[in-house]
Symmetry: C2
Subunit: 214 residues, 2 copies
């Protein structure tokens, strides 16, 4: 069994890959650089994780998303730290671009599945993280590929951050090689929306986060 | 009204853009280079057409599709000229990648529509050219964008090649600036599946194709 796994180098994508690996899939990891401020940090993490999983890794440069703008992840707009409505970190239609690239690769590899570590609970503010969205994408795969039988698997969809942390610990994953912070600082800031979610997850799971904070 | 128009520099994409222009849309043209053998020819055509429509043009380099392979359009596999089953020119999940990129751009532009010159009649062999596929993509846009109101318009979907030629003539489009041939030769080969469809379309429409053939 083969799977393409989209990875960002964050905690969630590490646990997602660990789950796919645990299910016996041969992993083909896709990492997309799209001008996000933390792309170097993320790339370092993904390389270490690909090495850990002994996985095939493809790194794709997609400056287009930075070029068209529209998100605080790729532009100089401030990352807003409260999440009323759709957060400023939303990147227009990003998940569809990523999942399409992953599905294309899966089709050429004759892979059975595409794994994506998105989470519907913590990021329900993003339109393209909702369960209905993933159902729509599964339908697109069925209609738009040769055999129509690639499964989109979003294993963390219904998990809370503390459940994700616990799963990572249970699978003995190298969570020290993950980066979740929105900022490109030496150590994670510990204050942004993403750091706070992560820290709360570790706290609730009663484990110590192995990465360093400012 | 604004629209993002995916263009390949072929006859169909020219007529598609002409129809969007005729409906009063301000055009934002997206051309993707993905290592297709004829990308330079196509790029020259798209630039001339963008100029003709006084449209904004974005050219995106996406070597990824060549890199993952799987199609005779991007690899050294021979282009098969008969079309039993799915042709060798099928590029895995290409339309989903292109439409996702176009939709992302449309979202940042606050555009109302994405136009795509795909044709379900002549290319029913491609899974991602069928009417059901485009319905599935429209549903994805509704579920996965902020406002969910961008319309995917595929105006040539149900038109025959001769109807497309007639529409191009009626709109007085510069069809001499289009390239349909699968081969990167100075003049179009006149023999490949794509040339034959085009020539048959002109013949049935009773117009002379303004491009040169070998």
């Amino acid at each position: 069994m083969r799977a393409v796994v989209l990875m960002s180098g964050g905690l969630d994508s590490c646990v997602c890959a660990g789950m796919a690996h645990g299910m016996g899939y041969e992993l083909h990891i896709l990492f997309v650089k799209y001008g996000q401020k933390t792309e170097k940090k993320e790339e370092q993490c993904v390389k270490k994780l690909a090495n850990y999983f002994k996985a095939d890794l493809k790194i794709l440069d997609l400056e287009f998303l930075k070029d068209i703008g529209g998100s605080s992840l790729t532009s100089d707009v401030e990352v807003t730290r409260d999440d009323t409505g759709i957060p400023s970190t939303y990147v227009p239609f990003r998940n569809s671009i990523f999942l399409s690239l992953a599905t294309a690769w899966a089709e050429t590899l004759n892979a059975n599945a595409v794994f994506y570590g998105a989470n519907s609970i913590d990021f329900s503010g993003y339109p393209d993280c909702r369960p209905d969205y993933f159902k729509a994408f599964q339908n697109l795969i069925e209609k738009g590929t040769k055999r129509g039988d690639i499964k989109l698997i979003v294993p963390l969809a219904e998990m809370s951050k503390s459940e994700i942390v616990k799963k990572g610990i249970e699978l003995r994953l190298p969570l020290e090689h993950t980066w979740s912070c929105y900022f490109n600082t030496e150590k994670a800031c510990g204050k942004c929306e993403s750091c706070r979610l992560r820290l709360k997850g570790f706290e609730e799971a009663q484990y110590k986060d192995p990465i360093e904070y400012e």
